[in-house]
């Protein structure tokens, strides 16, 4: 009798033990996890490759603008810049865990930093060459202080670390194409003649302005090439990333959660909404902030669903975090899928320009729905991470 009880108890205990570490489930989880990490790495690579292709298109258009400035070449450069935001915006989910984009010598601060020290770059209203009564100086209009403008000189000015002048990257190019955002109902209105070197030009130092624009654009291409190299099949970072799937999964979730809540919902949307301040929008020169919101949200959804729509129209699909969650946490998997759909839809419902949307009542509601959904999404991603045994604070960016 005593033996019997012991026997039953031990069977029971074995069952309990297995319930908490089922061999079969573990191996299925582990192999799915590896596939999820590989899918992610491939999406990162494809997305950066698209961003690079798009940046090269800006480069072509900028070269055309500089060699023959006209309303048409300026418009083409702007269109290419706007187009490039569509692919680059989706890559921002690859930040926030010290990967190639934002490790200690990662290019994020050079590539997409904001806010921009625009008055350090070129004339603004109130400074020397823009008129008014101020003699503030800037790089383009100070040939004696900065005799040469090229990639190296402007990269040097964009110092490293927390103590930085922001003088490079997408927003520098944006400023050089659009000019200051001075009017509430439209983006900046820089005339193409700012680049005319035939004597008809406006605002002095047109050739130097062209050199700056070219250097800033070339730097974007260089930085993206570096990222593609790290993430291509066999690339240094990708190889180590795929060889430690568990810590990589943790990094992936960190990026998703922190972009959702801390960065996008908090920094980029809530702050402007809270202050009703048009000055806090992300792409202020071009009034493209509404697309930044949607592309960021899409990027997160791409990673979650393990799918990426390439700019050539084809779709890449692989094992996803959604699949991985389905194994043990079906409800949370479905909940997250729904929340992400709601976030993207809410972002798409925002009526541009964003700087007006945060001022009118209907618009404020639409913006509120968006950041509320994104905050929830960040919390749910932290919950998902906890299911996998990780913990992070999605507010901490």
């Amino acid at each position: 009798m005593k033996l019997n009880t012991l026997f039953i108890l031990s069977i029971f205990s074995i069952a309990l033990l297995f319930a908490c570490s089922d061999d079969e489930e573990v191996s299925s989880f582990d192999s799915t996890q590896s596939e999820v990490v590989e899918t992610y790495a491939q999406i990162v690579y494809l997305n950066y490759e698209d961003a690079l292709t798009d940046a090269k298109s800006i480069q072509t258009a900028v070269d055309a603008l500089i060699s023959s400035p006209s309303a048409a070449t300026l418009k083409e450069a702007k269109d290419q810049w706007l187009n490039a935001q569509e692919s680059y915006g989706q890559t921002e989910v690859f930040r926030f865990y010290g990967g190639p984009i934002d490790d200690e010598d990662g290019p994020e601060g050079q590539l997409n930093a904001w806010p921009l020290d625009e008055s350090l770059i070129d004339y603004v209203v109130g400074s020397s060459n823009g008129g008014d009564n101020n003699d503030a100086t800037n790089i383009i209009n100070s040939p004696s202080d900065f005799p040469t403008i090229n990639k190296e000189t402007i990269a040097d000015l964009n110092e490293v670390g927390a103590e930085t002048n922001i003088s490079t990257g997408y927003h520098a190019v944006e400023f050089l194409l659009w000019g200051q955002d001075l009017r509430t109902d439209m983006p900046g209105e820089r005339p193409y003649t700012d680049y005319a070197t035939d004597g008809s030009g406006t605002n002095e130092n047109q050739a130097r302005r062209g050199e700056y624009l070219k250097a800033a654009t070339d730097l974007i291409v260089d930085d993206l090439e570096g990222l593609v190299a790290e993430w291509k099949d066999g690339g240094a970072y990708r190889t180590s990333f795929e060889s430690s799937p568990s810590s990589s999964l943790e990094n992936i979730l960190n990026g998703m959660g922190k972009l959702s809540k801390g960065e996008l919902a908090g920094e980029r949307i809530f702050v402007a909404w809270d202050l009703r301040s048009k000055e806090d929008e992300h792409s202020c020169f071009s009034d493209n902030t509404h697309r930044d919101i949607v592309t960021n949200a899409l990027g997160i959804q791409n990673v979650f669903l393990g799918t990426y729509l390439k700019i050539d129209g084809s779709t890449y699909t692989g094992k996803s975090i959604y699949d991985l969650l389905l194994i043990d946490n079906r409800d949370l998997a479905e909940q997250l899928k729904t929340t992400m759909e709601e976030s993207v839809a809410a972002g798409e419902a925002i009526v541009p320009p964003f700087d007006q949307e945060i001022l009118n009542e209907q618009g404020r509601l639409r913006v509120q729905v968006t950041f509320t959904s994104l905050r929830k999404q960040g919390d749910e991603l932290a919950e998902a991470a906890a299911k996998f045994g990780f913990s992070f604070d999605p507010d901490d960016i």
Binding site: S10, P115, T137, N138, G266, V271, E279
Partner: protein, 464 residues
């Protein structure tokens, strides 16, 4: 028997995979020091331990904290810019953001080698004045040395920090070393500093619990004041009074190394204008030195660069940063250290406990039992720590007792353990040993403790 052992093994394996859930509010009802901020205590002990909002914020203040956090961290840019909420940097400045010096809301470090520039270590300066209260700014450098400037203006210069180490020993023969700092002002853009200049180095402290300190009633703080040591315990405790720019009169100072700021709001606004060059409704004018014409001529929109709403948010943020819970608070060595801390007399100034009143920025912080380990009063710390520069009622020997909560997590958050007003102490033990003046007797008692007990006391401080 073997089977039983096997079963036990299985059962322990089973228990090991149960979640170990901790009820965070156990003990709050019966005040326990594990939660130094009371309900404004947080449980994250990671590198973000100093960066959380108090969990008990209500009325949308938890969201407004997000905006405050953003402006605390963002870099300010040169004016004018399209992001006009964020422009107005300089003309002269120490840093481009609050977070540059208070990294992760934590404590700054002095330069780690003599070639590194000072960032989180700033230098107040003034010249002797006949008039009490007056801090006479230098004609060329003003009241604070700013190593950086906007493009187009000559920078004020750099400070090279060097240290001389000296060796000492405890009565039991164990030796210790302290490093004495020297500050050389170099590459000066506006000529040499006058011979009578008085210079006070100040490091950026970690920020947790400011709103709780603001909520302590003035009466309770003044209870411990004993400026002329009438009770003959060797400890004075002097209140500083600072000009309150909101009430337009002098009120009790609580914040800053010399207790020269009365409120979190004014501390924040003063740091904005003094350290980043951002004017506000409280401090509408750039702090240009009398002879810094370039500073006066720099672009100026004629209105405060910091909107009232942003000042509100950053003030809320700074006040609402929660205090992390203590670690190892119930370990025997820590409890022994806590007893010794009281026995040798550390807590005459590092007052352990207050119950907050109903004042300050954050209504949720009222009537809270807190354990900050400060009396917020000025004490003579002796000639070796003296900056020899008066600041309000504080003389050149006096410093405010800094709160000790969070001190043991600086290593985790900021990756260093530099302490005291200028970061000269390389850890808690050195910081204790630097204490002089009113604390001399206490330090004599500390040094006489056996090594094991000294370690306990240090471990106790580390657990705060």
């Amino acid at each position: 028997m073997k089977k039983i052992a096997f079963l036990l093994l299985l059962f322990s394996a089973f228990t090991a995979c149960q979640e170990d859930e901790e009820d965070p509010f156990v003990g709050i009802s019966e005040p326990r020091e594990e939660y130094p901020g009371g309900r404004a205590t947080v449980f994250d002990l990671s590198e973000n331990a100093f960066g959380h909002a108090a969990p008990n914020l209500t009325d949308g203040r938890d969201l407004e904290f997000v905006t405050g956090n953003s402006f605390f961290r963002r870099n300010w840019v040169t004016s004018p810019s399209s992001t006009s909420d964020l422009d107005g940097l300089g003309p002269y400045f120490n840093a481009r953001s609050c977070g540059a010096c208070h990294f992760k809301d934590g404590r700054g470090a002095p330069p780690l080698n003599s070639g590194e520039k000072t960032l989180a270590l700033l230098f107040r300066m003034s010249r002797p004045s006949e008039i009490a209260w007056e801090e006479l700014p230098d004609d060329h450098y003003g009241g604070q040395f700013n190593p950086k400037s906007i493009f187009g203006l000559t920078e004020e210069g750099n400070v090279r920090v060097t240290y001389n180490e000296k060796s000492f020993s405890y009565p039991d023969g164990e030796t210790y070393r302290l490093r004495y700092p020297t500050y050389n002002f170099e590459d000066l853009g506006y000529g040499n500093l006058p011979a009578d200049i008085m210079i006070s180095p100040r490091i950026a402290p970690h920020l947790v619990g400011l709103g709780l300190l603001e909520a302590i009633s003035e009466e309770d703080i003044l209870l411990a004041a004993d400026e002329f040591d009438k009770n003959n315990d060797g400890i004075s405790g002097k209140a500083n009074y600072a000009f309150n720019h909101i009430l337009n009169k002098n009120t009790l100072g609580r914040f800053g190394w010399k207790a020269n700021q009365p409120t979190v709001r004014q501390q924040v606004a003063a740091a904005f204008v003094g350290d980043i060059g951002i004017t506000s409704s409280l401090f509408p004018n750039e702090e240009c030195a009398p002879n810094q014409q370039g500073c006066k001529d720099a672009y100026n929109e004629g209105e405060p660069e910091l909107s009232t709403k942003i000042l509100d948010r950053v003030t809320l943020y700074s006040a609402a940063l929660a205090v992390p819970k203590r670690r190892n608070f119930d370990q025997p060595d820590v409890i022994s250290g806590q007893v010794l801390f009281r026995q040798v007399g550390c807590n005459s100034c590092h007052m352990p406990k207050y119950v907050t009143g109903e004042i300050g920025e954050i209504p949720e912080f009222a009537n809270e039992t807190i354990y900050p380990y400060t009396d917020l009063l000025l004490h003579d710390m002796g000639t070796e720590l003296a900056d020899n520069r008066p600041d309000g009622l504080a003389n050149g020997n006096e410093w405010r007792t800094p709160p000790l909560w969070g001190i043991g997590l600086i290593q985790t958050v900021n990756n260093h353990t530099f302490l005291l007003h200028d970061g000269r102490a390389r850890g808690i033990e050195e910081a204790i040993l630097w204490h002089g003046g009113e604390a001399s007797q206490v330090i004599v008692s500390f040094k006489k403790l056996p090594k094991e007990e000294r370690t306990h006391l240090v471990n106790f401080v580390k657990s705060l």
